[in-house]
């Protein structure tokens, strides 16, 4: 096992009041006992707003001093000003908000190389190469104050990648860009990263960005890392109700195991409704159930329902309809609230409307069960 490129141990951080005084006990706290990043690895640090992602990223990047704990890069401590400077000259950091120097686009991209005392002729070649990769070669002589949002994001990416860093920190690098522009830049970024053996840590609240740029996911909630794993782990098997809510599992239900037999358990969800799930659980154990909306099948005829092998057949009434990009969210009352995603065609063929009675089919194995620690 080779040593990781970046390590953080026993990090504790408490946000201080910006005015210099220390705030009371209810301020934001962050605590991470261990975090590692190996050479060339891509990690997406995800979590809801205010979960401490940016703060943790800044601590890892040596831009925020934790109250306790240490950051180790390539077996070297990152603590003193000199150590930090040496560290910063091997990494690149892209902040969340636009940060462009009041000079030309060329100089904005060249600044890191100038700070690192790279030879002038080499700076020219490298900056021009980086600008080309992001399709902004034509803007080199333009003032950085007079470019569009998409161009500004490209300048910031080019400024980081021209350094050929060993480790790249990105804090919401696409900001508020609209989808097509983001798509273009993602492609350019992939091109610029190809051939660089550079570890990446990206902070984002956008699932798509995380999936595109992260091989491994780290989920942060309330200042703590609550789950680490692949995209499949996080999206299909969220470790807590918060992670489930964050990854977009619409149906997070609290229940109590009432009986179990043959690898299956019956879970009571409030009054009168229950679900059969895979796995055996102790009677009376409190469980959180995640029902992926896309795994729920709606039918209008009971006969049709019986023909399918699903173990849970629920009768429900439509209480809400909400359009989204690929169809509709149908809210169903089955004794507990259930959200189902339905295509536009299915809406009309099933005759879905408010008040309609439908059958919902859920495979026992499709339900992800989170056992509570206590």
């Amino acid at each position: 096992m080779k040593t990781p490129l970046l390590q953080a141990r026993d990090i504790e951080f408490r946000r201080r009041d910006g005015r210099g005084g220390r705030d009371g006990g209810d301020g934001f706290r962050l605590g991470v006992s261990g975090f590692e990043l190996t050479e060339g690895e891509s990690v997406a640090l995800v979590g809801p707003n205010g979960s401490g992602k940016t703060t943790f990223l800044k601590i890892l990047a040596g831009l925020e001093r934790p109250d306790r704990g240490e950051v180790i890069f390539d077996s070297c401590q990152v603590r003193s000003a000199a150590e930090k400077r040496a560290y910063h000259r091997q990494i690149a950091y892209i902040p969340q908000s636009l940060a462009l120097y009041n000079t030309t686009v060329f100089e904005n991209v060249a600044i890191g190389l100038r700070i690192r005392h790279v030879a002038k002729s080499e700076i020219r070649a490298r900056v021009e190469g980086a600008l080309e990769k992001f399709g902004i070669g034509g803007l080199a002589g333009r003032s950085a104050q007079k470019i569009s949002g998409g161009e500004a994001r490209r300048v910031m990416l080019a400024r980081a990648l021209v350094l050929e860093p060993r480790l790249l920190f990105m804090d919401e690098p696409f900001g508020e860009l609209d989808l097509p522009v983001k798509e273009e830049i993602l492609t350019e970024l992939a091109g610029a990263l190809a051939g660089l053996r550079c570890a990446k840590l990206i902070v984002t609240h956008d699932h798509e960005e995380a999936l595109r740029l992260g091989e491994r996911f780290v989920v942060m909630v309330g200042g703590a890392i609550v789950q680490t794993g692949t995209a499949a782990d996080i999206f299909n098997l969220p470790a807590t109700a918060e992670v489930a809510a964050f990854v977009g599992v619409k149906n997070v239900l609290e229940g109590t195991a009432v009986s179990s037999e043959g690898g299956m358990s019956q879970v009571q969800l409030g009054a009168g409704a229950s679900l059969l799930v895979a796995g055996e659980f102790k009677q009376g154990q409190t469980l959180t159930l995640c029902v992926p909306p896309e795994s729920v099948v709606l039918t209008s005829a009971e006969g049709e329902a019986a023909a399918l092998s699903a173990r849970n057949l629920l009768k429900g009434t439509v209480t809400g309809l909400m359009p989204f990009r690929y169809g509709f969210w149908v809210k169903l009352d089955c004794g507990f609230p259930l959200s189902v995603c339905v295509t536009r065609q299915a809406i009309s063929s099933l005759g879905v409307e408010i008040g309609a009675k439908l059958h919902a089919l859920i495979k026992a194995t499709a339900v992800h069960v989170i056992e509570h620690a206590h």
Binding site: G62, R85, H88, Y93, A99, L100, Y101, N102, I115
Partner: protein
């Protein structure tokens, strides 16, 4: 009214003719205020940047004192400098009183808080995100300082312009510590006072015109520097 017009006409003639005495006084003014401004910029600007970029106990008190210092009455500065430079004063052995050097010292004291306080204000307005980005790029203190100065050059030049305007037109301090000696410590402002008292309104006005033109050309040069690069 006629006196005014006549004086103006004669003043203009003196200026156009480049009267040697006038040139000599102009040169003395430029030398004293230019020297003071040079020293103040060299010290005050980096000091202002250091105060703006660092955190230390009593920092706010220092900023408040500097802001107060921007309004120092020149006459008071002149008096205190005089008391230090008198033969019996603590710095009397230097024998600087009634020399251009004494005037430079007084003007440094007047201009220093202006340049320093306005530098603090200008550098504090640099986007903190940009400073964070600069730090993340691995910049040393000196590199950070250069980058911060470039970012707020407009504000910094405004401070230098304000200081120049303050000392070139100031009369109280230079009068007290310089003594208005003809050919040595007579500057435009003290010259105006003297000529006015002697009833030579046209000479006083001519000196005033030169003062205005000097102020204008220096500020024009600084403004071109400021705006020209800022809006490229």
């Amino acid at each position: 009214m006629e006196t005014l017009l006549n004086s103006l006409r004669e003043a203009a003639q003196l200026v156009v003719a480049c009267d040697p005495e006038l040139l000599q006084i102009l040169w003395a003014s430029l030398r004293v205020s230019g020297m003071a401004l040079f020293v103040v910029t060299l010290v005050g600007l980096p000091l202002g940047a250091a105060i703006a970029l660092s955190r230390f106990p009593g920092r706010r008190l220092v900023i408040a004192l500097l802001n107060t210092g921007m309004g120092l009455p020149p006459v008071l500065v002149g008096l205190v400098v005089c008391m230090f430079l008198w033969r019996s004063g603590p710095l009397g052995f230097l024998e600087l009183l009634y020399t251009p050097a004494a005037m430079v010292i007084a003007q440094i004291i007047i201009a220093f808080p202006i340049v320093t306080a306005l530098s603090v204000a200008a550098i504090q307005r640099v986007d903190p995100n940009l400073l964070l980005q600069t730090q993340a790029l691995g910049a040393s203190r000196w590199q950070t300082f250069k980058i911060a100065v470039r970012e707020c050059r407009i504000g910094l030049l405004a401070g230098i312009m304000a200081a120049f305007g303050g000392i070139i037109s100031e009369v109280g301090a230079v009068m007290m510590v310089g003594g208005n000696i003809k050919g040595q410590t007579r500057v435009l402002t003290t010259g105006i006072v003297l000529e006015t008292r002697m009833g030579n309104f046209e000479v006083a006005l001519a000196l005033g015109l030169v003062l205005l033109m000097l102020s204008f050309s220096v500020n024009l040069a600084l403004t071109v520097m400021q705006q020209g690069r800022g809006t490229r």
